[in-house]
């Protein structure tokens, strides 16, 4: 007969392998903002994953808003993207804002560069955003 941990009084808890990895890991949250961007202009951030670590990205969001009040009611289109060692692994477009979670994490091995960026595709000056999040083991 299997002896199970003592769950009385919340002394113990069972985790799936994925959930336990998240508990052990360092949560990572990345965010970029750039203002005064017009059609085709972009900004990005990079993170070189330490050699002994692995980065897991589980979701991303992208946003775009007008810089001038007169443009606030227009379309605010932006394109967010993620690169894993120079390979595009995710694209997310929005008109205003959008977000997704990945059913399987994007895995960035140690020593590789992770890039998160956003393009403005509005015909007026905008502030653009991209954010992504996950954990690092």
């Amino acid at each position: 007969m299997t002896d199970y941990p003592d769950f009385e009084g919340q002394k113990s808890k069972l985790f799936t392998a994925a959930d336990w990895s998240a508990v052990l890991a360092t949560d990572k949250n990345f965010r970029v903002i750039a203002s005064l961007k017009t059609f085709g202009q972009s900004h990005s951030g990079t993170y070189n994953v330490p050699a002994a670590s692995t980065l897991y990205i589980v979701g991303m969001a992208v946003g775009c808003r007008a810089d001038a009040a007169a443009d606030a009611d227009k379309d605010q289109v932006a394109h967010g993207y993620l690169l894993n060692a120079a390979v595009t692994v995710a694209d997310l477009l929005c008109n205003g804002g959008n977000g997704i979670t990945f059913p399987k994490p994007i895995v960035v091995d140690g020593g590789n560069t992770f890039t998160y960026g956003v393009y403005c595709y509005a015909n007026h000056s905008c502030t653009i955003y991209v954010s992504c999040w996950g954990y690092e083991l």
């Binding site: 949560d27 949250n29 965010r31 970029v32 903002i33 203002s35 993170y47 070189n48 330490p50």
Partner: protein, 63 residues
């Protein structure tokens, strides 16, 4: 000795990273690590590149 934000970034020793574009190719980076009551702010140009340049480093206590 207080750690530098750029060193924490490269070691992966942070949880939250916020980056804002500045004029002239500079970017403003703010780092936070859970359990530490401080923010690490610095400005960098050509991050990870051969011309990497750091300025305006600041460690801010937060409560």
């Amino acid at each position: 000795m207080t750690e530098r934000g750029i060193d924490k970034l490269k070691a992966g020793d942070f949880n939250d990273l916020s980056q804002e574009e500045l004029p002239g190719g500079w970017i403003q980076i703010t780092l936070r690590k859970r359990g530490e009551d401080r923010l690490y702010r610095f400005q960098v140009r050509d991050l990870y590149g051969p011309g990497e340049d750091i300025r305006n480093e600041n460690v801010e206590e937060v409560h």
